[in-house]
Symmetry: none
Subunit: 149 residues, 2 copies
C-alpha cells in the first residue's frame, strides 16, 4: 500500500525521482510502467495494471456505437501519457503535463493507496491548507461511488 508524501527536485529535463519506498512497492507489485493523467491541477500516476483495472477493463465493456462513448474514450486516452522508470528510478514528466500542473523546480510525490499524485510544491501546500497545524479536516459525507480516479 502506498502512503505519505516526499518532496523531490525536478531537473532541467523534467525528471523526478520516485522515492525508493514507492518504487519498490510499484516495481514488485506492478512493474516499471505507469500511466500519467493530469487532474485536479496535479498529475496522477497509475501503475499500468491499475489503469487497466480502473479504466480499460470497464470501458471496453461499453459499446462504441455512440459518439458520446467515442468522445469520452478519446478525451481520457488522449490526455494520458505512458512512461517508465529509468535506471535511477526516475520518470520523465512530459512537458504538457508539467505545464498544466505548474510543476517547475520542486515537486511533491504523494502515495495514495495504489496510485501516486505528483504536485507542484506550492500547490500542494495550498491543497494542504498552507499551515500544517496538525488540525485534521473533518471527513466529508459519504458519496456515491461511480468512477475511481
Amino acid at each position: 500500500m502506498l502512503i505519505s508524501s516526499h518532496t523531490v527536485s525536478v531537473d532541467a529535463k523534467g525528471r523526478v525521482s520516485i522515492p525508493a519506498r514507492f518504487r519498490e512497492f510499484l516495481s514488485a507489485k506492478y512493474g516499471d510502467q505507469v500511466v500519467l493523467l493530469g487532474k485536479d491541477g496535479c498529475i496522477f500516476a497509475y501503475p499500468v495494471e491499475e489503469w487497466k483495472r480502473r479504466f480499460s477493463e470497464r470501458l471496453s465493456k461499453l459499446s462504441t456505437t455512440t459518439k458520446e462513448v467515442r468522445r469520452t474514450l478519446r478525451r481520457l486516452y488522449g490526455r494520458a501519457e505512458s512512461c517508465e522508470f529509468d535506471r535511477q528510478g526516475r520518470i520523465l514528466l512530459p512537458a504538457k503535463l508539467r505545464v498544466s500542473s505548474s510543476i517547475e523546480k520542486e515537486a511533491v510525490i504523494v502515495g495514495i493507496e495504489n496510485k501516486l499524485e505528483i504536485w507542484d510544491k506550492g500547490r500542494w501546500n495550498q491543497e494542504m491548507g498552507d499551515v500544517d497545524d496538525g488540525t485534521a479536516d473533518e471527513l466529508p459525507d459519504e458519496d456515491l461511488i461511480e468512477f475511481e480516479f
Copy 2:
C-alpha cells in the same frame, strides 16, 4: 495497449510519422498493415487483425439477403482504405481521407486501447474542449452493442 497523443507534421506528400511507441506495439502485436476509415471528422486506423475482429468476423455472420445489410457492408468496406508503414515508420494518408478530415500541416495521433485516431490539430483541440483543464468527463450510460468503432 495504446495510449496518449502526439503531434506530428504532415509533409507535402501527405505522410505522417506514427510515433515510435505506437509503431512498436502495432508491429509486434499485429504487423505493419492498418485499415483506415474516416469517422467523427478524423481518421480511424485499425490494425488489420483488429479490423477483422471488429467487423469482418461479426459481419460475415449476417445474412446478406436483406438490402439493408448489403448496403451497410458496401458503405463500410467502400470507404475503408488499407495501408502500410514505409521504412521510416510513416503512413501515407490517401487524399480523400485527408480532405474529409481536414488534415493539412499538423496532425495529432491518438492511441486508444487498440486503435489509432488521426486528427487535424485544430479539430483535435476543439474535440478536447480547447482548454485542457484536466477535467475528465463522466461516463455515459451503457448502450446496446451493435458495432464497435
